[in-house]
Amino acid sequence: MFATELDYRMSVCQIHLCSLLIKEHFGDIVEKVCTHLIQNGAKPLRVAAQETGLKIDQVRKALCVLVQHNIASFGLHKRGFVEYAASVEQVLLLVRYPRYIYCAKTLYGDAGELIVEEILQHGQMRMSTVVGRVTQRLSEGGQSVTNDHVKGKMEDLINTHFLQRVPAPPPDNNKAAFPELTISERDLYRVPASIEVTRGESDTSKRKRSTEDSDPQSSSKRLKIDSEEHAADEGILWHLNFDRFHKYLLDHEIVQAVSRRIDWNAAEVVRTMLRISELSKGLEDKTSHPISLNDTMRNLPKENNMKFGVVEQYFKLLSDDQTSIVTKVGETGGGSYTLDFQNACKALVVSTIESVVQERFGSKSFRIFKTLLLKKYLEQKQVEEFALIPAKEAKELLYKMFSEHFVTMQEIPRTPDHAPSRTFFLFTVDVSQVSRMLLERCYKSLANVISRRAFETKENKRLIEKSQRVEAIAASLQSHGADQSQTAEVEDMITPLEKNQLEKYRSKMSKLEQSELQVDSTIFTLGNFLRLESDS
């Protein structure tokens, strides 16, 4: 169980970034514990406490938080004690949380947004609690919604596999040192029969609860005595199915890419293909199953009235494209096509790398790089000729890219003694190696951005606290019915100079955070490609 998590490539940059992220979201203590677990692998409780120099209760608390947020997991060591491990991958997802929330908003509106937000804040939650809170928050925001509406949205999220059940402990684990969490395939996306929240409608909830009693989890109801409300879905917790979100985000990226490459109609065709394949394909598949032209025609949105001939043309265009996102596999049904996710990811990554090269080394270097990408292996002389750049300049540019590892070299000796005079030196671009390197740099820059933000906050701490105090005083004055002049007087406590500085600080913060989000979207693109690549 842990072996796979530990085998995952971890780098110094990743670990550093993880510790910054955990520190920002869960505080210093959790950060210490989590970093220790990441660096040293699975550890039992007491050893972790000893090695981090924290109190055992602190470590306990930290582990509870980590387990709750799906970052840490526990298992039995073969010598019979419980040990804990933390997953780097999960921690790195913390940067992407806003995107999941946004994603839910675009799909399921405000209710969906709040549902995902609540669950992310708490790691895992009961359906009844989520529905209760979201309804309350929506009605506080001035929207009149019912529990049923929110519940419906949550069921939609579950049915589309965006949310899934957290593995549950066996019904009687009083004796075991740790609960063995399991979940069957069948239960993963099963909506509980009832989620009665209020205690007022005891009649209906009791009746419904008895149907749920066949569920093995229901016994946990009795064990949890400290909570006052007894919801019918006690013991059934939900968390995000991150893979599903990633799939959605990737689909979205592919559609965007096609729209940029060809046009919106082509993107619409691809979107329709994705929608058809969504129902049947697994998350890890590299290609969709064949989709025929007729099927696509039937499923195109109504408002898009493209003629059969036009769609056929678009299919031809798509399958002729050199990115080969869409490939033709047969003639049935007016021609059947598959979507190749691996090629799509590769196309996305290549264009990312190209833009990095262009911005870092300038357009002449970009020309060399592009030539290498097209021709695969080139000798130095050929590079100069194909890129149409004078020999001396080309040499300089090429070596610069070589020294920064964007370009690699392959030696092919003509004689077994590897003498340089009798060896071909072929320059080439290894896309997966470059994307690994860029991914590493992304982690590093993300860590840098976060520490810069922490530094800025520390520098301006006094000013921030002052402005918060002033705001609080002004707000309380306003609520007590003070007139304008009084509140203005309080607000004048911040001098124009300070105001200016605060403004500057805030704009810096938003810029830094914006960069975090955008670096993460690059990480997402690169990570997807490398994952599909390593599977093959």
């Binding site: 869960f26 409780l45 946004y102 549950a168 609960p179 400290d226 013991g235 870092r360 340089p420 938003s510």
Partner: protein, 223 residues
């Protein structure tokens, strides 16, 4: 001999490599550097501005909000407050006492390994627990006292039969006194329970001590 030969060979290769690399006779080699590259090299290409748009703006808002919520949430564990200069009486009544052995949220202990369970000490809970603790003591005390009363009353009845009315009246007075003493004992106990936690945990009814002492006295003088 052999050494010289090898040296010559290497020299020849070196000279050849320079030509292969494209450095002609007349070319000036770049000067050798003896210092590390500058920490902040001049930027040749300025970074491009970040893309903007409604989507990014909204994501930024979401991010900031989420970060702030997390910082205020119970999952953000702060270390225990450091001891202040003076221990104040009011400290005890502060609601936000943040100590290491409390947890701000209720995890589902059923899902976690047993060893992680923290004995949560809440203010309301300690009171409840001390009340529970107090009950058995009281009952035990009561049973004993009731037994005593029964024994005493039985004896009193016997005495009543034997002795004169005046004498039995005195005995009754004694009985009542005994009961009053018992009641006083309960009050003492309850006072202690209602006080601070310290006394509860250190409370010792002294029964064990007495026994130990007895044993000690018995065993002591054996040589």
């Amino acid at each position: 001999m052999a050494g010289r030969g090898r040296g010559r060979g290497r020299g020849g290769a070196m000279a050849f490599t320079a030509e292969v690399l494209g450095l002609g006779r007349g070319d000036v080699l770049p000067p050798t550097t003896s210092q590390p590259p500058p920490l902040f090299p001049p930027l040749e290409f300025r970074p491009v501005p970040l893309p903007t748009g409604d989507e990014w703006d909204y994501l930024l808002l979401l991010k900031q909000e989420f970060r702030n919520t997390m910082r205020d949430s119970p999952y953000y564990i702060k270390p225990q407050d450091k001891k202040k200069d003076i221990e104040r009486y009011s400290d005890k009544y502060r609601m936000s006492n943040n100590s290491d052995n409390t947890i701000g949220w209720t995890p589902d202990w059923n899902r976690l390994p047993k060893e992680l369970k923290i004995r949560v000490k809440k203010q309301g809970e300690t009171a409840a627990r001390s009340a529970v603790k107090a009950v058995p003591n009281l009952q035990a005390a009561k049973q004993i006292s009731q037994k005593d009363v029964e024994v005493v009353t039985q004896r009193l009845a016997e005495l009543e039969q034997k002795e004169t009315e005046a004498a039995s009246g005195d005995e009754k007075q004694e009985d009542e006194d005994e009961e009053e003493i018992d009641e006083e004992e309960y009050y003492d106990e309850e006072d202690q329970e209602e006080g601070t936690d310290y006394i509860v945990s250190y409370f010792d009814n002294g029964e064990d001590d007495v026994n130990d002492d007895d044993d000690g006295l018995d065993d002591g003088p054996i040589y």
